[in-house]
Subunit: 196 residues, 2 copies
C-alpha cells in the first residue's frame, strides 16, 4: 500500500508529536500541527490561542454545559464553527501533498482515504510523567494531573465529534507503546511502512 | 531491548496465530499454542478438548452462573484448577528458551518479565469474516456470529482472570491491524523488534 498521509493520535507525554515530526523529516513529508491552527485562525478571524483550545479540547467542560453554550442563528456553536473550518483545512492539506498530521481528529476526518496510515502513540505512566516534568518543568504531582486532564479533554473532544472512542485500536492501523519500544523504533516502524 | 518471549493476543480471524507461527519460524523461537493444551492435559489428567475450552474461554457463561459452578473443598473451581496449571506451564516454558506464546493470558502471566514483547493483532470485520468463511467453511452470517462469540468468550476470560480489559492497548507493547498492514508487514515489524 502506498500511503500519502500519516495521522498521529497520541497520549500526552508519549512523544507522539516528536515522533510525527521526525517521521515527516525522514520521509520528506510536510508536517502539520501548529500550521493548522494558524490557517484556521486566518480563515475564521479568531485568535490562535482560542483555536488551539477548541480544535483539540472542546467541549472543554461537561457535555451538558457544552450543549448549553452559545449558538448562532443556524444553531451552530462557536466550537462547531471552528471544527468545521479545521475539517476543511485538513481535507485540503491532505489533497495537496504527502504529509503527517498530528491530532485534531484527522484520522476520522480522512477516514474515506485509503492512502492514510493512522497511528496511535501511547505510553506508560512513569515515562510519560517524566517527559512532562522535564518538558514543562512540572512537579511529579502536577505532571500526573496535567497528563490526566489533557488526555481527558482530547478523549472527550474526539468521542464527541467522531462518535468513536479515542485510543480504541479499531480507529488506527497500528498502535505503538513508545515507553516500551522507544521513540527511534516507533519512527523506524512508521517510516518502514511508507518506504516499502 | 533484548526480547526472549513474544506473546500474541489476537482477535478471531485476524491471522494472529498464523503471524505468531511465522515469527517463531523466522526467529528460530519455539512456538507454543496447542502444546500448552497437551501439557496441561498431561499434568491435570483432563481431556484436551476440555482444557482448550477452559484455557481461553472460561467463564463460558455469565459471571453469575460461573460463580455458581462446582468447586472442590478448597473453594477452587475446575476452571481455576486448569488455569493454575496453565499458568505454571507458561511460566516454566518462558524460563526454558526463547518462544512465542499465543493467547491464554500469557501477556498477563508474564507481566513481571521485562524481556517479554506483548503484541495484539486485530483486524477489520470484512477481512476477518472472509478469513473465517474460508478457513472454517462458514457462510458470511455464521462467520460473523462465530467471530463475535469467540471474541466475546476470549474477552470475558481475559478480563475475569487478569482484571484488565482485553484489547486495551495499555496491556501490549504494540497493536497491529493485520487487515490494513497485511500479515507479512506484521511479521516483519515483530521480527524487526527482536533482531535489532
Amino acid at each position: 500500500m502506498s500511503y500519502h498521509i500519516i495521522t498521529i493520535s497520541r497520549e500526552f507525554g508519549s512523544g507522539g508529536r516528536f515522533i510525527g515530526e521526525k517521521v515527516a523529516n525522514r520521509l520528506g513529508f510536510s508536517y502539520y500541527d501548529k500550521e493548522i491552527i494558524a490557517k484556521v485562525a486566518e480563515q475564521t478571524g479568531l485568535a490562535k490561542d482560542y483555536i488551539e483550545k477548541m480544535g483539540e479540547y472542546a467541549p472543554t467542560k461537561s457535555l451538558f454545559s457544552y450543549l448549553l453554550a452559545g449558538r448562532d442563528n443556524s444553531g451552530q456553536s462557536m466550537e462547531d464553527y471552528v471544527l468545521a473550518a479545521q475539517r476543511k483545512i485538513i481535507l485540503t492539506l491532505a489533497d495537496k501533498e504527502p504529509c503527517v498530521i498530528v491530532g485534531r481528529c484527522a484520522d476520522y476526518i480522512l477516514r474515506d482515504r485509503e492512502d492514510c496510515l493512522n497511528v496511535f502513540i501511547y505510553g506508560n505512566e512513569k515515562e510519560k510523567s517524566e517527559r512532562i516534568q522535564k518538558l514543562y518543568e512540572k512537579s511529579p504531582e502536577d505532571a500526573i494531573k496535567l497528563m490526566a486532564e489533557t488526555d481527558k479533554k482530547r478523549s472527550l473532544n474526539y468521542n464527541y465529534y467522531t462518535n468513536r472512542t479515542w485510543g480504541d485500536v479499531k480507529n488506527y492501523s497500528l498502535a505503538l507503546n513508545s515507553s516500551v519500544l522507544g521513540y527511534e523504533k516507533c519512527i523506524e516502524i512508521i517510516t518502514g511502512l511508507i518506504n516499502s
